[in-house]
Amino acid sequence: MFAYILKRILYAIPILIGVNLITFMLFFMVNTPDDMARAQLGAKQVTPQMIEAWKADKGYDKALFLNKEAKGLEKVTDTLFVQESMKLFSFDFGYSDANRNIGAEIKERMGPSLAIALPTFMIALITNISLALLLVLFRGSALDTSMMIVAVMIMSVSGLFYIIAGQVLFSKMWHWVPISGYEPGWGGIKFIILPILIGVFAGIGSGVRWYRSIFLEQINQDYVRTARAKGLSELKVLFVHVLRNGMLPILTGVVVVIPTLFMGSLIMESFFGIPGLGSYTIDAINSQDFAIVKAMVFLGSVLYIIGLILTDISYTLFDPRVKL
């Protein structure tokens, strides 16, 4: 097990280098250091002297991949790419172009992101699974058919509509919750109810359909027939046998997502003014803050890889047949 995890971590390193390379190339192709300087200095009058001073200040005056002036190995190492990547690998994200410590910022913003993403994820999982089980229980009935059509309809609406409609109805017209905002702690529940509800609802269509098909696949298995032959009620068959076996394929899709919950939801956070990592990322894209985007891409990849490893580990926990 330990050796396996170690192996996976070692395997992750070339992937992360590749990720870095891609982002680095993309962003320096788009964003010459001059651009960054101008965006950051952002004043009414930006003189060339100011730009030069800024670049030197930030260390963006180095060569990208190959420093022709340096000697020996430094040709490669004394470059922007290697320097910046090395920092990332030690989780030193450096400073944003607004001169704030990105690492500290990420730490601070993970909370709000999780406050939305985690409950959304959990509630959605529970609702979707229970609804799916319900449909499987009444499979083939009119209820099943009509709910499946409703599910397809729910799927066919862009998430943006749900958010707009939710805000107009719940906040603007009915005064149930604040329109947007965030507050840490229990007092903040009023802010996160609506985004969570919308997040859950928007995902219900595809979620229920997916889980339903998984459970239906299970319900045709032989062991379910065995369980019925034991005299178990249909509810017990579903909750004890089908659910437990259905959880295995669900795990593959679900566990990989858990770490990326930290990244937050781009759209939701910016609509509801949640100061999480999602809105951080959007702002960074819009203001072309290379340092933040790079950090977020790196973080996203790391979390994704962690998710993959967790998926494997969770299999060993939940599926007795799998051993690492």
Partner: protein
């Protein structure tokens, strides 16, 4: 049935603990009942360091914290400066090259000197940097990294202290400006005027570089600028090259805010930057407020500075009161000690929609009016003035409007072979386009009438701007029966034909004239805007190709004069025509200054430039007015810009928000304002009663479907196998 009862009971349980009042209050409900102002910011201010800050949203914060020597009077119109930390307005004396005192109108003026006498009762906010031990050395001057370990914010320092403001703090600020690494946007400008600043800057920049390399602290007290002299603890003199009357305005800007050396050294300590303890994030000032919390991701909190010096609400004498239309209630607090509001909470609101809705719900005390919300908020009354819609006025909302000292214009690149140049045909082409751009329609569609069509570069309220026929651009408009009327499109077409493009077809090539318009169009609203723009050109038969990019690249193109037609704007730094006309001064042209200049249309007219040099050093007088009008006639003829419009800012405030008086020049207006907290609490409750019916219906639906499902399952459990025969 049992289940239903159970569920209804559960429902009651859930409802019970909910607050009896409102559910959707986004703020701390206790603070609503106190002198706390709730406001919003859409972009987190990135730099609160007065040496670099040059943005309206940054100034809105640091304006309350820092105090430059001068400020604009809150109530007086036209805008007038008054002393803030000074005992009186600076004394101005003139010297010739030999250093002899000379008269104001003397031809030999080589220097002018401003002498600033500071008030003695001005103190800084409490800050750990000021704490000294018994020996008088800084207590937190040499913090080790371990000591910083548990420090996250300034509050984590046990001790705090204050000290009096001294003249050397202002000198220190100018020295900081000179350090290139601090990226001051006005350094290059000021170096032209302040004696010795240029040389000092070059010198200190090298020193700073060296110190950075050796990781030493840069203490600017050790260096001095020739033209900036600290005469005593509370007296400072600044020497200016030649005559530069506008300098006095600069003294009201935050670049000239006092910087205590203790804090500068404090923030330079290792490890501070990692904790976001920097000038950019933790300002130290003498103002009415100090920054308690700066979380750019969520909120910023200002609190009233207990050390704030004695400042009183301004009063006006009878004459002033009568000359300007100042509402009486603005004067009711006259003479009372400032500030009134004890705490300000700025919340991040990136989207305009939630902001507007929260304002309507009473959760923000003031709001601007986005164009979407305009016709909801504003009606035009019979007398032609803008007024609140009945819905708004029923809520007790108050409308405040003022024309901004700004201009948005569409510029031609005068270096461009097609639209540029000073030939008759090029002029006529530009004039034709100018006529075709129907600014009035633009203002109506995109600005909801919140703006006035510009007749020249100078904004209303600024010396040099004239109303009526005299202030009308005769190239584009006609004066008809007491009104300005845009010339008809036929006139434009004629001009275009005379320019060599009949019906938009070039006589030379026989092809349709195709022009390129650079824009920073990325938002959702921009498509309509671009469509409109294209239509204006299409009226002349000209095809407009729009090249939209992000703002960065757009700036870059303008700097390199790689544009043909583009739109831009200017927001005045100070209420003087020079601050507008220099946008067209040949010496500031981008092509002449290697991209550094402010004249992005590259307009160069020797006659205009000569007049500019003259008016620049004149004080306001009929002579100055005459010269300015001459200059305006010149640029209207050459038409390097399509004048565009001056935006009108409209602000809405709730009834409980008092003493609000728009002042386009002043930023530190928070201290004058007051809140009627009791009224606020009442109104918020009244406006935000939750609508319960849908909730009840929803729960009922849940209960019913639960019951239905239960029934369905029971039926299945009862199932027997039916035979078909």
């Amino acid at each position: 049935m049992k289940m239903i009862i159970l569920k209804v009971f559960l429902f009651m349980m859930i409802l019970e603990p909910l607050p009896a009042d409102v559910w959707n209050n986004p703020h701390d409900s206790e603070k609503i009942a106190t002198q706390t102002l709730f406001s919003a910011f859409s972009m987190p201010p990135k730099r609160l360091d007065p040496v670099v800050s040059y943005n309206a949203n940054e100034w809105a914060i640091i304006g309350q914290i820092y105090e430059p020597p001068l400020q604009y009077n809150y109530l007086k119109r036209p805008y007038a400066l008054e002393a803030l930390t000074l005992k009186e307005m600076p004394a101005l004396t003139y010297y010739d090259l030999e250093g002899r005192l000379v008269d104001e109108n003397d031809a030999h003026i080589a220097f002018s000197e401003y002498r600033l006498r500071l008030r003695e009762d001005v103190k800084y906010q409490d800050h750990p940097a000021f704490v000294k031990d018994a020996n008088g050395t800084l207590f937190y001057g040499k913090l080790s990294e371990e000591a910083l370990e548990n420090i996250q914010t300034l509050d984590d320092f046990e001790k705090q202290a204050t000290r009096h403001l001294t003249a050397s703090d202002y000198a220190y600020a100018i020295k900081r400006m000179a350090v290139r690494q601090n990226h001051s946007p006005i350094l290059d400008n000021m170096a032209e005027y302040i004696v010795g600043l240029k040389a000092f800057s070059q010198n200190i920049t090298k020193i700073a570089e060296e110190k950075k390399r050796t990781k030493e602290v840069l203490d600017l007290r050790a260096y001095n600028i020739a033209g900036v002299k600290v005469l005593s603890d509370h007296t400072l003199s600044i020497r200016i090259k030649g005559k530069y009357p506008q300098f006095i305005y600069w003294l009201s800007m935050y670049f000239f805010s006092p910087i205590p050396w203790e804090a500068d050294l404090f923030y330079q300590q290792k490890g501070m930057k990692g904790k976001n303890l920097t000038w950019n994030w933790s300002p130290v000032g003498t103002g009415a407020y100090y920054l308690v919390k700066n979380d750019p991701s969520r909120e910023m909190v200002l609190k009233a500075n207990p050390n704030f010096h004695d400042e009183r609400y301004p009063s006006l004498n009878e004459e002033e009161r009568n000359s300007s239309n100042i509402p009486r209630e603005l004067l009711s607090d006259a003479g009372k000690k400032l500030p009134f509001i004890k705490e300000v909470i700025y919340t991040l609101e990136k989207e305009s929609i939630p902001l507007w809705n929260k304002f309507l719900q009473g959760y923000y005390d003031a709001s601007g009016i986005s164009s979407e919300a305009f016709d909801q908020a504003v009606q035009i009354s019979a007398s032609g003035t803008m007024d609140l819609s009945s819905e708004m006025s029923q809520k007790g909302i108050v409308l405040k409007g003022s024309v901004q000292p700004s201009i948005f214009y569409m510029a031609f690149n005068m270096e461009d072979p097609v639209v540029g140049g000073y030939s008759e045909s090029a002029k006529k082409l530009r004039q034709a386009i100018s006529i075709a751009q129907n600014q009035e329609e633009y203002i109506s569609i995109f600005m909801n009438e919140r703006g006035i069509a510009a007749q020249g570069p100078i904004a209303p309220g600024i010396f040099g701007h004239l109303d009526g026929e005299k202030g009308t651009d005769k190239v584009v408009y006609e004066w008809k029966s007491g009104k300005r009327v845009r010339k008809s499109i036929e006139v434009a077409k004629r001009l275009l034909a005379e320019a060599g493009y009949p019906e938009g077809i070039s006589m030379k090539t026989g092809k349709q004239l195709k022009l390129h318009y650079d824009a920073t169009a990325t938002g959702p609203d921009d498509r309509a805007l671009m469509d409109w723009r294209r239509k204006q050109f299409a009226k002349l038969g000209i095809q407009l190709v729009i090249r939209s990019t992000d703002y960065n690249r757009f700036q870059d193109k303008v700097r390199k004069a790689k544009v043909q037609i583009f739109s831009w704007g200017w927001n005045a730094d100070y209420p003087d025509p020079e601050n507008f006309l220099f946008l067209l001064y040949g010496g500031n042209a981008v092509v002449n200054t290697n991209g550094a200049g402010i004249n992005s249309s590259n307009y160069q007219n020797p006659e205009f430039d000569k007049l500019f040099d003259e008016i620049k050093i004149m004080s306001n007088s009929p002579q100055r007015q005459e010269k300015i009008q001459k200059m305006l006639t010149l640029v209207r003829e050459d038409a390097p810009w399509v004048w565009g419009f001056h935006p009108k800012s409209l602000a809405l405030t709730h009834l409980w928000f008092k003493n609000v008086f728009p002042n386009a020049m002043a930023n530190n207006t928070l201290k004058y304002k007051r809140i009627d907290a009791k009224l606020r609490v009442e109104k918020q409750k009244e406006w935000n009663q939750p609508v319960l019916l849908p909730l009840v219906l929803f729960v009922l639906l849940l209960v019913l479907s639960g019951y239905f499902l239960h029934k369905l399952y029971l039926n299945r459990q009862k199932a027997v196998i039916k035979q078909e025969r």
